[in-house]
């Protein structure tokens, strides 16, 4: 149970379904949710005599990914056959890449944890390769048999393999989240985890510090970050307990059961596997020229890492803020549009509104920021009116509410209609201050005697008398002036 005495070693293999229109080796649609086998073409069901032809779109996406993680794009990569029998694998082999993958190396820096304890960690990637997805076995009962749907067979996958660089479930989740952000950012994968577009396998082992790597067990098909966290945590504890109880870890492939929170051996993998990889003779080497890479690079969007650095440098935002604002390209675009309209000085208030009120509302309404009812320009106008003292922060929430609900679309009009404007007429304010000073001689006396707190009571009285429209900062200034402080 002494987890401190153990070092955890985790590597992830992530399968990202590439968001091409057609499959990797056939012209069948990849759209999700079609009737069973309606999108399984002759090539996908492996009719005798059919042949694969590689989809340029899939390769293009692999290049984008490689560029995004600063990896080498292999000038020559080779498709190989991974041979095994399974009913959802129609050819009896999966076309994948083995010895020569399309993307080699690369790294991703992720922010782990929150608050004071948060830290940056760089995870290195081994490789990323193109391959085809398998179909699905449906386990509901057909007279004691299973049903096979091959619609998913042939959907392009990018298998992204990390080095065993992660030392905790938190690091693994941070890395998986960062990749999840990245693949959507560069528009190569829709990231829909419920539909299986982004699936994680975790290789987990434990060792005493300084010892060689322990035997690993692979947890397959984790399709949520919560399950990833739970499965790894369970697996770490199980391995430690097993070793501390005098047992040995056997290399195995396991599945995580979300209902029990435990991992269990996969029966289908009990057979010692021998995939008999060899270069697929139906496909030729994939050659990617410098010109293709250059064209792709030119069309790449600014990446989240670069954007984070820029936000920090230009606007002094914290690491936490920059990570949150770059959680998706839409969020970052929203933020940048708002700052562009509000001015650089308002970057932090814009960030606060986006991460606070807007995020909470979107979350509650289950809406994407891209179709937020409040536009970046509206938010910028709102932030501007708070900054110039027209309205208070509290009044700002009322304006936001009106924008969100569609009660109004123009910030100034809402302020006027709802009477939210702060008192900016100095003459009027001075008149109220004079009245309040006259009515509260005791407080005045106390303040003059050195009791700072007494000022707060006076400010409160002025705010009350102004029915909340006075600007507290201005009230403060006027009060101090009148009291000769």
């Amino acid at each position: 149970m002494s987890r401190q005495n153990w070092e955890v070693v985790i590597g992830l293999e992530i399968h990202a379904q590439l968001n091409t229109a057609s499959k990797i080796f056939s012209g069948a649609s990849t759209a999700f949710g079609a009737e069973a086998n309606a999108q399984a073409s002759a090539v996908d069901i492996a009719l005798p005599g059919v042949l694969p032809v590689l989809n340029r779109g899939a390769v293009e996406r692999a290049i984008r990914f490689g560029l995004a993680i600063d990896a080498e794009i292999a000038p020559k990569s080779v498709f190989a056959r991974k041979n095994y029998f399974y009913p959802d694998l129609p050819k009896g082999y999966q076309i994948s890449q083995f010895e020569l993958p399309v993307v080699v190396g690369g790294e991703v820096t992720v922010r782990v944890g929150e608050g004071e304890a948060a830290y940056d960690k760089t995870i290195h990637l081994t490789r990323a390769h193109l391959e085809e997805d398998a179909g699905k076995s449906l386990h509901e009962d057909f007279h004691g048999m299973s049903g096979i749907d091959l619609n998913r067979a042939g959907t392009p996958l990018l298998e992204i393999v990390s080095e065993p660089d992660m030392r905790s479930a938190a690091e693994a989740v941070a890395y998986a989240r960062a990749l999840h952000t990245l693949v959507r950012w560069i528009d190569i994968c829709d990231g829909n985890m419920q539909e299986g577009s982004f699936r994680c396998d975790a290789n987990v082992s434990v060792r005493r510090p300084g010892e060689p790597l322990g035997t690993r067990r692979e947890i397959k098909n984790l399709n949520s970050f919560r399950f990833l966290q739970q499965a790894i945590d369970y697996e770490i504890q199980w391995q430690i307990d097993t070793i501390e109880d005098g047992g040995k870890i056997q290399q195995a492939t396991v599945l995580f059961d979300p209902d029990t929170g435990e991992t269990r051996m996969m029966r289908s993998k009990e057979d010692a596997h021998d995939y008999r990889y060899f270069p697929d003779p139906d496909l030729l080497p994939l050659m990617i020229g410098e010109d293709w890479i250059a064209r792709t690079r030119a069309a790449m969007p600014e990446l989240p890492g670069a954007m984070r650095a820029r936000f920090e440098a230009d606007w002094g935002l914290s690491a936490y803020d920059t990570v949150t604002l770059t959680v998706s390209r839409d969020t970052a675009a929203y933020f940048e549009a708002a700052v562009a309209a509000a001015g650089d000085a308002q970057a932090k208030p814009c960030a606060n509104w986006i991460m606070g009120e807007l995020a909470a509302r979107l979350n509650k309404a289950e809406r994407d920021i891209a179709d937020s009812p409040v536009s970046p320009a509206q938010l910028a106008a709102l932030v501007g009116r708070i900054a110039d003292g027209t309205i208070s922060n509290n009044a700002g929430k009322k304006v936001f509410d009106a924008l969100w609900n569609g009660a109004g679309s123009e910030v100034d009009a809402i302020i006027a209609a709802e009477g939210l404007k702060q008192m900016s007429d100095t003459g009027e304010l001075e008149r109220i201050v004079d009245e309040v000073l006259a009515a509260n001689p005791k407080s005045v006396e106390e303040f003059r005697a050195g009791k700072e707190k007494a000022l707060n009571a006076l400010v409160g009285q002025v705010m009350k008398a102004s029915r909340g429209k006075a600007n507290p900062a201005q009230v403060n200034t006027v009060l101090r002036a009148k009291l000769g402080a």
């Binding site: 005599g49 129609p90 008999r276 060899f278």
Partner: protein
């Protein structure tokens, strides 16, 4: 009529002295009469053929006919034909009706050729005698107790016995050239990538290549021109302009340099075969060609390399036959593994299973480098041998087969003896070069002997002309077996 060339048939059809329906009926009737003893066809499609013939006649009448419109044709049963069963001569696919046409099949349909049926073969194109057929062996029309060669035995027999004027085949290690030699017809396997493999049920993908059988090089040129051409559905199909393979026919052979690999002539060839080959070479010299000795030092390694690469690819290619989506499924089984094991054990014949096992072994963990990788390296050495030889000559010549046709059953229980029959043809597939076999004489028992011509990459037109030149000067290709 059954002896007429494709060119003459086309002329007669266009002149209206003959209709495609008449011609088709003539050959269908011959098939009805002779196929029971020759077993050249697995499936005959009389109704489909006659319908195609009527359509061809209409097209001829409309003046839109091409060179092959209305002329009967047979496809090796390895090519998928929509609506007509495609068996690969296997129990596995005995009832398989393809939902689509192979590229070669649709090309020839578009050309207006009339398909009479599907021809017998060694199961999954694995064999050199046509004895490995679920539907029984095809018989050599020169002596029905002998094999016709394989794997495209049925197509060779059909053309040799004049059951059809032209037929398609496939050649992975000699499967067009060797049966052509043993039955006395002309057969060409083009450069790898010239004929699309789409819809051609794969045996060994990096070696398989569609080819043509005819009674002459001239006929083969016409058929190949219609079969060949770029197909975007086959990644290994070569992107080249469509070719007229007849274009070089008739060019004189004077000055032609024929390379004779000394390894082919050293030993292993039967004396009767050697005599016929020598005579054929003498004929070429008389036509103005010169012969030069060349060397293919690694050619002897072609058989072992082939019997690693081909089974390795086959073991993977044939994994799709698992009884799930099509093909034979065992009547009784327990769990999933049992269903696979029984369906495949029952569906595949002995030689197919052997090659799957050999391939599985050589690819398996720990053996890959020693076998598969080593074979791929030898393959390069063999290809480099040919490249060196072609710096000294225009074409290479030698025997197609070391023997004439042998009695059915003689080698069928000894795989290695059977494999050695392809000693002269296999290296060509490993290198991916074009090869052709033409009848050049007779050996013991008056059985045909084939001369093999090997060309450089994409040199099919020259190869066909070299064969044509010989056939203009000799009559070997006109010999017809005496049949009931």
């Amino acid at each position: 009529m059954i002896e007429a060339s494709l060119k003459d048939l086309a002329a007669a059809l266009r002149a209206g002295t003959l209709s495609s329906v008449e011609l088709t009926t003539l050959f269908l009737d011959r098939i009805d009469a002779l196929n029971p003893s020759l077993n050249a066809f697995i499936t005959v499609d009389r109704d489909g053929a006659l319908a195609a013939a009527r359509a061809a006649d209409a097209r001829i009448a409309a003046g839109t006919a091409g060179a092959l419109t209305g002329i009967p044709l047979a496809h090796k049963d390895v090519f998928c034909t929509e609506g007509l069963r495609t068996t690969c001569a296997s129990k596995m696919l005995a009832d398989f009706v393809s939902p689509y046409d192979a590229h070669v099949v649709s090309q020839l349909k578009a050309a207006g050729a009339v398909m009479l049926g599907k021809t017998n073969m060694d199961e999954y194109a694995m064999g050199s005698s046509n004895e490995n057929s679920h539907f029984g062996p095809a018989k050599n029309p020169w002596d029905a107790t002998r094999v016709p060669g394989g794997s495209s035995g049925g197509s060779a027999v059909a053309v040799a016995a004049r059951l059809v004027p032209m037929a398609t085949g496939t050649d992975t290690g000699g499967s067009v050239r060797q049966p052509a030699a043993l039955t006395g017809v002309t057969g060409i396997k083009p450069t790898y990538g010239v004929v699309s493999r789409y819809g051609m049920i794969a045996y060994a993908s990096s070696l398989d290549q569609g080819g043509a059988f005819g009674r002459s090089a001239e006929d083969c040129a016409l058929l190949l021109s219609a079969m060949a051409g770029f197909d975007p559905r086959d990644s290994t199909s070569v992107e080249r302009e469509a070719e007229d393979y007849s274009r070089a026919l008739g060019q004189p052979l004077a000055g032609l340099r024929i390379g004779l690999p000394k390894e082919f002539f050293a030993e292993g060839m039967d004396d009767d075969v050697r005599a016929a080959i020598d005579a054929a070479l003498e004929q070429y010299r008389q036509l103005g060609a010169t012969t030069v000795e060349v060397s293919l030092p690694n050619a002897k390694l072609a058989i072992p390399a082939y019997y690693v690469i081909a089974p390795a690819e086959a073991s993977s290619n044939l994994s799709r036959f698992d009884g799930v989506r099509y093909g034979h499924r065992a009547a009784e089984y327990g769990d999933l593994a049992d269903m696979y094991g029984k369906s495949r054990a029952q569906g595949f014949g002995a030689e197919v299973k052997r090659r799957i096992l050999v391939g599985t072994y050589v690819l398996s963990h720990g053996y890959y480098d020693a076998y598969y990788l080593q074979a791929q390296k030898l393959r390069r050495l063999i290809a480099e041998d040919f490249a060196a030889a072609f710096t000294q000559c225009d074409v290479i010549a030698g025997p197609t087969s070391p023997t004439v046709a042998w009695p059915i059953g003689e080698k069928s229980d000894d795989p290695v003896q059977m494999y050695l029959q392809d000693i002269y043809t296999i290296a060509v597939n490993l290198a991916g070069l074009p090869g052709l076999s033409l009848p050049c004489g007779t050996g013991a028992g008056d059985l045909p002997v084939g001369l093999q011509l090997i060309g450089n990459y994409f040199d099919e037109a020259r190869l066909l002309n070299v064969a044509h030149g010989f056939q203009q000067a000799t009559d070997w290709h006109r010999r017809t077996p005496a049949l009931g």
